[in-house]
């Protein structure tokens, strides 16, 4: 397939402090003891999309990510690493690497996507419709702890968060409207023009834009060139393309045209063509036809472009690691309900890794993961948690709904609930943590108790 894949891996995201640091940029955050980037790359490999550009914010992070990729996917993927400055937005990142793009179609995937939706299906859907953009939509994940909903969980489960407001045609093929970000809280404003063309539009608030897009390269590059105010693919470029889908003159000179100045004339001509086509075609072109009418032949310039949607089936798993809550959720899900993401991993990794040592009367519950070389003392309890490699855990320790990364030392009698413990952290005896994040290398002194706090070393 003539597809190039751009993986926007990000860098040191502010949302995720103190989890990310210079040593562990966002793409390398462990999800079930594997860097989150692994899940995207793995899916791409499965779909036979092997021509990749991984875009990382920041040079140092790029080196780290590049090192990991070349170590893990030795010859299986053809990967280029591109470092871009921080905070230039996803559209800026594409602009920055624009000269690397050569294929007809570009698949842009966010590096923090953990999903079992095959990217190949999105790409194929894109090709089939000859679309300008195809966006992957998935059901809104229900955030928050799914069963231990004692505190605050009730509100969340009652009202699943709304991420996007999405308008679809009756066949659910085309994307007719998309609202993101702050627009969601306002009254929705729908374009009558598109509505008229389609006749009926389904408006869904239970779908989420998963940040996996297939773009036609020429269009993407032209839009980015022309509209340098566009910052983000998700919030600017996609809505712009969707909004202008019935009126894409702005894009039409991707076929280089001589009569640039005659723009006004051309568009009015276009109108006449369209009207006459409608008049001639009394059996009324549907939205579909309207699109294709301008495609095949008679009209010299494309009047419309197609924006398609690929809706992942509701049973598939799809989540983005863009907040600490999401980090917890994904870790829990990947070891729990979505464990098929793990089972396909090539180098066999058990739920309880090799050469671990468990003390007497220590229980590791279901949906847990214990990385290789970790040791636990007596009478410990681990429930719905992920524990990394080479951790040393004392006796009488309780770990519930938490993520413990690698090389963590936990003293006797600690109780850890709903927390994230980063690598090389030392928890001394009888520490009690609830809903905390502990940054890498931090030392929690004996007997201290924290609730809902974020602990990290001061930056030097």
């Amino acid at each position: 397939m003539d597809f190039q894949v751009v993986v926007l891996a990000g860098g040191t995201s502010k949302n995720l402090t103190p989890l990310v640091s210079k040593e562990v940029p966002k793409p390398l955050l462990p999800v079930a003891n594997r860097p989150v980037l692994y899940y995207v790359l793995h899916q791409l490999e499965q779909s036979n999309l092997k021509d990749l550009i991984v875009v990382v914010e920041g040079k140092d992070a790029a080196l780290l990510v590049g090192g990991w990729i070349s170590g893990t996917f030795v010859d299986r993927l053809h990967v280029e690493i591109a470092a871009v400055p921080e905070d230039i937005g996803s559209a800026g990142a594409i602009r920055a690497i624009s000269h690397h793009l050569t294929a007809n179609d570009i698949l842009v995937v966010s590096g923090d996507l953990v999903s079992d939706v095959p990217p190949g299906a999105v790409a194929a859907n894109h090709r089939r419709h000859d679309a300008v953009v195809t966006a992957m939509l998935c059901s809104v994940p229900i955030s928050g702890p799914s069963e231990s909903g004692s505190s605050g969980g009730k509100d969340k489960t009652k009202k699943p968060g709304r991420y996007n407001i999405i308008g679809l045609d009756p066949g659910k093929q085309f994307l007719l409207h998309i609202a993101t970000g702050a627009e969601i809280e306002k009254d929705t404003r729908l374009q009558k023009r598109i509505l008229r063309a389609v006749g009926e539009m389904e408006i869904r608030s239970d779908l989420m834009d998963a940040h996996m897009y297939a773009f036609k390269r020429s269009v993407l590059q032209e839009v980015l060139d022309r509209k340098d105010t566009l910052q983000s693919l998700k919030q600017d470029v996609l809505p712009y393309l969707v909004r202008s889908q019935l009126k894409s003159e702005a894009l039409s000179n991707r076929i280089p045209r001589a009569e640039e100045n005659g723009n006004e004339k051309v568009s009015s001509q276009n109108n006449q063509v369209m009207v006459s086509q409608i008049l001639a075609n009394a059996s009324t072109p549907s939205f579909h036809d309207l699109c294709s009418v301008s495609h095949d032949g008679s009209a010299p310039i494309r009047k419309t472009h197609k924006c398609c949607a690929y809706i992942a089936s509701s049973s598939s798993y799809c989540a983005r690691l863009n907040s600490i809550q999401a980090f917890m959720d994904i870790n829990r899900d990947v070891t729990g309900e979505a464990d098929h993401l793990l089972s396909s991993i090539s180098d066999h990794n058990n739920i309880v890794g090799p050469s671990t040592k468990l003390g007497t009367k220590t229980t590791v519950g279901p949906h847990c993961m214990l990385g290789e070389g970790s040791e636990m003392g007596d009478k410990c309890q681990v429930k719905r948690s992920v524990i990394g490699r080479h951790c040393r855990i004392g006796s009488h320790v309780k770990v519930v709904n938490s993520v413990v990364m690698n090389h963590v030392t936990i003293g006797d009698g600690c109780i850890i609930q709903g927390s994230v413990i980063c690598s090389n952290v030392q928890l001394q005896e009888r520490v009690v943590l609830k809903d905390c994040q502990v940054g890498a290398g931090f030392v929690v002194t004996a007997g201290s108790e924290y609730k809902g706090e974020s602990l990290a070393r001061k930056e030097k």
């Binding site: 009202k159 009558k192 023009r193 006749g199 539009m201 389904e202 408006i203 608030s205 712009y240 009207v275």
Partner: protein, 725 residues
């Protein structure tokens, strides 16, 4: 224990009994409470107007009877006597299982009033069908009723079921078919609950708003633009009491339906029932009169078609959709074209061509007459050589020889068109003078009932002839020699409506205009978003639209959108090398349409230029300066053409200050340099700069920042001036 049990069983048995006990009732509103059929409705109620030679109300009543309704309350207001007389003389008053009762009112001015009056009479018990007397349908009510009742059992708040139908699927025909306003409905796809009903959507706006709570409550909503409201409602008793509670509800849709949808305290719900294969439509205006007549002739409304409704074989159907009454006199050489209806006792002369038309009873049509797509009612005389295209001709009209009706003409009762006279397109002609008091469209709605009611019955029942002889002197000239009648002038605002609503097909250029309107919509929306408008737009058209918008908003908003427009124009000029002269023209056009002063133009253009400079890539302030210099050099002629006097130049400086303070702070260190540049390029004169500095003299300290920045330059200017002196 026993008593309780008894009570329980009694209640159980009561329930089905209660449902069964009430016969299905219907309320038929024999008054449209609109003026769309004027001038005809000044003399005859709309429900008695013939549709393929049969009064409209007969179609409605026949359908109600076939749908299982047992009792109909006919509410009449305008020309109530005519309606009552008609019903009494017709078969409807003597049907065994179909009781038609009339309710008369003289002071109702809306459907709301009518329903309030009916509520006071306490005649409705249980669910009823609400319909107006101008609706043609052949749908079966069984399923809709069943759905309605089941919903009611589950949810007492589900008080109404609206019947909707898929309309023709092309964006053009949706509007043009029935001539109705564009309708947007939001429906929950699972429950079929109606969530939003938008019929009087403003044309000028390119978007439709949905309330955020609506989307929050419904994960999936389907917004329809392709449905047509059939104006057949199945209502529960509560509907009547709701009208009484909300005494300001007038219009069924605009007030009642929207009121219920907005009101979330009472929690009443409206549902929709979609029909697919059967027919239902309401005659709202002349265009739908035309469309529905054709549908009837083509038998979409079967069994409610002329030959069946008349019974006893008075009308025969022949090939090519020709309906002929038994006793007509037809010349051999006449060409009777496809899809026509000819009523009893009509005579048609030699070489006359008739197609796609309805001709009433007792008409006399001469030789060499051409009739196309027209509706000719009873006892009309058309002399030789007349031409009629897409016209409505009421009872008793006389067209003298050689008269011509252009498309869209309506001749009301007993009008006489003079010899060889050409009635211009879309004219409304009546013996009655046009009512003088012209309110807005909304106010006029019920006027046909009130004004018509007061004066007309006497005229109609009394001696029309004497009345006619009076009027005969006056209007002769308006309709040619020997003509009788007034041509109504089209009131303002109705101008747009005339082609939308008339019987004549919509001309091609109007269709093109509809398409263009849609383009404009698009423009507006793009500008509403923060993205720059796409280039290559039809500037002049979108301007016209913008100005309408602007009237409603404050002048500040106006200025902002004006500035945006200018900026878009300018950017397009930059990207496409439009000549400066053209840009000047366009900006002037914008200025006129936004009602701006030329001072504003100068400011807006300067703003666009600076914005372009700041948006072009630059890494240091020196590069920015170079950018700005480039832009200013390239476009100095444009800017100069808007700087006629010193005030405008000062405005530019003030604008520049504003830019430096707000939109593009990058410029603030370059303020003095660019000011100098503008001076060098002769864009700004020294007088203007000094005047600006003087004006700022008394300002706050914070306001003087830029004066201080430019102090050196100002100093230099002053010295130069002194030297000259």
């Amino acid at each position: 224990m026993v008593a309780q049990k008894k009570g329980a069983t009694a209640r159980v048995s009561e329930d089905p009994e209660e449902l069964a006990r009430h016969p299905l009732q219907a309320i038929l509103l024999a008054d449209s409470f609109t003026t769309k059929f004027r001038p005809i409705t000044l003399e005859r109620p709309k429900v008695l107007l013939p549709l393929a030679n049969i009064p409209m109300i007969d179609y409605t009543l026949a359908w109600l009877e076939s749908a299982g309704v047992e009792e109909v309350f006919v509410f009449c207001c305008a020309h109530s006597k005519q309606v009552i007389d008609y019903l009494e003389s017709s078969d409807w008053s003597s049907q065994p299982n179909f009781l038609v009762t009339t309710i008369e009112s003289h002071n109702s001015i809306s459907a709301g009033d009518a329903l309030r009056l009916i509520y006071e009479r306490h005649v409705i018990h249980g669910d009823f069908v609400l319909i107006s007397g101008d609706t043609v349908s052949n749908m079966s009510l069984t399923q809709a009723l069943q759905e309605h009742k089941e919903r009611r059992k589950k949810d007492a708040n589900a008080i109404m079921t609206m019947v909707v139908k898929q309309s023709k699927p092309s964006p053009i025909t949706q509007q043009s078919r029935l001539g109705t306003d564009e309708l947007f409905m939001a429906i929950n796809p699972d429950t079929k609950q109606l969530l939003c009903y938008e019929d009087k959507a403003e044309y000028s706006k390119g978007f439709i708003s949905l309330d955020k709570t609506l989307i929050a409550d419904n994960p999936s909503t389907v917004l329809h633009n392709d449905k047509q409201d059939c104006y057949i409602d199945i209502c529960s008793e509560e509907v009547l009491s709701l009208f009484t509670d909300n005494f300001d509800y007038q219009h069924l849709r605009r007030h009642f339906v929207k009121g219920l949808l907005v009101d979330d305290i009472m929690g009443y719900k409206i549902f929709t029932h979609e029909i697919h294969s059967s027919y239902a439509a309401r005659i709202d205006n002349f265009r739908s009169y035309d469309t529905i007549s054709k549908d009837i002739i083509q038998r979409w409304t079967y069994p409610f078609v002329p030959d069946v409704l008349c019974g006893n074989s008075a009308i025969r159907v022949e090939r090519r959709g020709t309906y002929r009454a038994s006793e007509i006199t037809l010349s051999r050489s006449a060409q009777i074209g496809p899809f026509i209806v000819i009523g009893q006792g009509t005579e048609i002369g030699n070489d006359t061509k008739i197609s796609h038309s309805v001709i009433g009873e007792g008409c006399t049509i001469g030789s060499n007459v051409t009739i196309e797509g027209s509706y000719i009612w009873n006892n009309v005389t058309i002399e030789d050589g007349c031409e009629l295209r897409h016209a409505i001709v009421c009872d008793g009209v006389t067209m003298k020889s050689g008269a011509v009706l252009e498309p869209g003409v309506v001749l009301s009762f007993k009008v006489v068109v003079g010899q060889q006279f050409v009635v211009p397109a879309y004219s409304m002609v009546s013996l009655l003078q046009q009512p003088t008091q012209q309110d807005s469209d909304e106010e006029l709605e019920y006027a046909d009932s009130s004004s018509g009611n007061v004066e007309l019955p006497s005229k109609l029942n009394g001696d029309i002839t004497s009345d006619l002889s009076e009027t005969r002197h006056g209007p002769t000239s308006e309709l040619g020699t020997g003509g009788v009648g007034y041509i109504w002038s089209i009131f303002e605002g109705g101008h747009d409506e005339e082609w939308r609503h008339s019987v004549a097909p919509i001309p091609t250029d109007k269709l093109a205009k509809i398409m263009l309107d849609k383009d404009e919509d698009e423009e507006l929306l793009t500008q509403d978003g923060n993205v720059l408008s796409p280039s290559g737009e039809l500037k002049s058209d979108s301007d016209a639209n913008d100005s309408e918008d602007g009237d409603n908003e404050g002048s500040r908003d106006d200025y902002v959108s004006f500035e945006k427009e200018v900026e878009a124009t300018f950017l397009r000029a930059v990207h496409e090398n439009v000549k400066v002269d053209h840009v000047i023209l366009e900006v002037n056009a914008l200025r006129l349409s936004y009602n701006m002063a030329s001072v504003d133009c100068a400011g807006a253009i300067f703003y666009s230029m600076m914005k372009l400079a700041v948006e072009s890539p630059h890494s240091s302030s020196s590069e920015l300066h170079r950018n700005a210099a480039d832009v200013i050099t390239t476009w100095q002629n444009l800017l100069k053409s808007f700087l006629h006097d010193i005030d405008e130049e000062i405005e530019v400086i003030l604008k520049f200050e504003e830019i430096c303070l707000e939109s593009a702070k990058e410029f603030s260190p370059l303020f003095a340099q660019i000011l100098h540049l503008l001076y060098d390029k002769d864009i700004l004169e020294e007088d203007a700069i000094l005047r600006w500095a003087d004006e700022k003299e008394g300002a706050d300290e914070s306001d003087k920042v830029f004066v201080q920045r430019a102090e050196k330059f100002l100093q230099w200017l002053r010295e130069a001036e002194e030297e000259e002196d």
